[in-house]
């Protein structure tokens, strides 16, 4: 499987996903008008990851802003990772939030609610 790198855009985050097991990052702001299209390569990467022999992933999310469509895509992404874990993969999510931004912390808590994957809230 291939590494996925997308540079930060005006309304989209920097994406860096490894070519296999490792650490992945989504960092910046995420409010594209068509989030479902923008997230497609990310979902494709997760699909490939689920088929790969080495399924260990630490996904770091450090988004200061995201729109509601992107929040749906993030939840879909976490659910795909949850499926991967159910298939034997080792995945965890680290949700980074600015400690003076309670909305961001609450968003992380909401997205983690009901998920069966390790989900850490990390203040910075």
């Amino acid at each position: 499987m291939n590494e996925l790198r997308i540079p930060q855009g005006t309304s989209t985050p920097r994406v860096q996903f490894p070519a296999g097991a490792g650490t992945a990052w989504l960092e910046g702001a995420c409010y594209p008008e068509d989030a479902f299209t923008w997230f497609r390569p990310v979902f494709q990467w997760v699909e490939d990851f689920r088929k790969s022999p080495q399924r260990q992933l630490e996904l770091n999310i450090k988004l200061d802003y995201f729109n509601t469509s992107s929040s749906k895509c993030l939840l879909d992404l976490f659910q795909h990772l949850q499926d991967c874990r159910a298939e034997g993969g080792e995945v965890e999510v680290r949700w980074h939030y600015c400690e003076d931004d309670p909305d961001l912390r609450e968003s992380g808590e909401e997205l983690a609610d009901g998920l069966r994957i390790p989900f850490q809230l990390v203040a910075y």
Binding site: F36, Y65, T68, L75, D103, E110, D113
Partner: protein, 160 residues
């Protein structure tokens, strides 16, 4: 006497995706530079993207800072059917007890969307939540097109 400052004013026809992105990027920089609440940007994103979804002609976006509060207001011409659907959706949201709003957002976030969906259908719910219910959706009927007006206010008591 209360003071009012215009943080953003845009008026025009056919708000393009590129223009909306630039307007929001400029607003984000301004909010971070001048220390306005981040929540203001979160509301503005949903409202500007709502204009993009529903506008079929001239539109206006206005963000005002008052003493102790902020107002985000958008107005745009809309197809009558789309405007009525949005108003019904807003009425459904407003009829909901405050404590159920977050659960409704969660439920919609988990829902399967049909292919080709342009949004997650959560934007107005989020505007209500972020503004602590200080928001309004109005439709002003015209002969062929309707005017759709959305406004949300952030106050020190509720959301700042």
């Amino acid at each position: 006497m209360s003071k009012e400052t215009r943080l953003l004013e845009w008026e025009g026809e056919g708000l393009s995706c590129e223009a909306a992105t630039l307007i929001l990027a400029g607003l984000k920089d301004q909010i971070e530079r001048d220390g306005h609440p981040r929540r203001l940007f979160r509301i503005a994103v949903e409202m500007v993207q709502n204009v993009r979804l529903h506008s079929i002609g001239p539109a206006q976006i206005l963000i005002l800072q008052h003493t102790g509060s902020y107002t985000v207001r958008t107005e745009n011409l809309s197809d009558p059917d789309a405007a009525i659907r949005l108003l019904e959706h807003a009425n459904w949201i407003n009829a909901m007890p405050e404590e159920e709003v977050t659960a409704a957002i969660q439920k919609r976030r988990q829902a399967h969307l049909p292919p080709g969906s342009r949004g997650a259908g959560i934007g107005l719910l989020e505007i209500r939540r972020l503004s602590a219910s200080n928001w309004a959706c109005k439709v002003i009927p015209g002969p062929d097109q309707y005017r759709l007006v959305l406004s949300a206010t952030l106050t020190h008591n509720s959301a700042l």
